[in-house]
């Protein structure tokens, strides 16, 4: 089963990539209030049960995929 892990920088952390994107959008007449740049990790885990697959992905995300000091994460079932 495929589980997506969406990782975003915490709001209180200066997101330098987001700021660079904001600058480019503004320079090209497409200004937005804010842009936040994160990561998306798609895990194909050897589970057919959705709850088990989500639990495994959560454990992996907490093990290494995100750093709670600067990021948050959400899981989604891809299929």
């Amino acid at each position: 089963m495929k589980i997506g892990v969406k990782i975003l920088p915490r709001n209180e952390v200066l997101d330098t990539q987001g700021r660079a994107v904001e600058g480019t959008l503004k320079a090209h007449g497409r200004a937005v209030n804010q842009a936040r740049v994160g990561k998306y990790v798609q895990l194909d885990v050897a589970e057919t049960d959705q709850a088990k697959a989500l639990a495994k992905a959560k454990e992996i995300a907490e093990f290494v995929l995100y750093n709670p000091l600067i990021e948050t994460f959400e899981l989604e079932v891809v299929g």
């Binding site: 200066l14 990539q17 990561k39 093990f63 290494v64 995929l65 750093n67 000091l69 600067i70």
Partner: protein, 215 residues
Amino acid sequence: MKPVGITRFLGTNCDRDVWQAVEALGLAPKWLWFEDQFDPSDYSAVVVPGGFSHGDYLRCGALAAKAPVMKSVSEAAAKGAPVLGICNGFQILCEARLLPGVLVRNESRKFIDKWVTLAPAGKTPWLKPSGGPLRLPVAHGEGRFHSDAEALKKLNDQGQIWLKYKDNPNGSLEDIAGVTNEKGNVAGLMPHPERAIHDWMGGEDGRAILGTLLS
């Protein structure tokens, strides 16, 4: 004399500089390969050098922090051995939770490569009296120290802030350039003491830090 262990990950690139600095101080260096574990009692200290371990993929230091050698580095730290992380080594020790906080992209978004002036702060066994501020080179894109407010207060209260920039080059919280763990035996800094060992390198202030490995 027990050797000083120097870790090597895929992408470490300051390993030979640290090796030569350790030799220049009259100590015996020995490599510690990232896939191997070691017996901490065989080493007098461990240095985690800088570079771009595992390509800085995911987050700088995050993948290296999970390497087998880091299990042994954690054991060495728990036993009170001196463990020093330099630049990417500092990032690795933070990701391994051996040091508090995290290093993120410089506020300016630019890679910084220059000499900086540092003021020692707090009490630390990681600095020989140098008679004033230190001048050391920095070379990093992700050296902005970050921590939450609660942890930052703890760092201040417990004297874990080790080095501060005189003219903050990267936007680090409270000008922090280096921190230690609670016990003081694990330390990390973004500047490169191994690049300031001889006068011809531009300065010798790195000896005030690496020289503490002698004791």
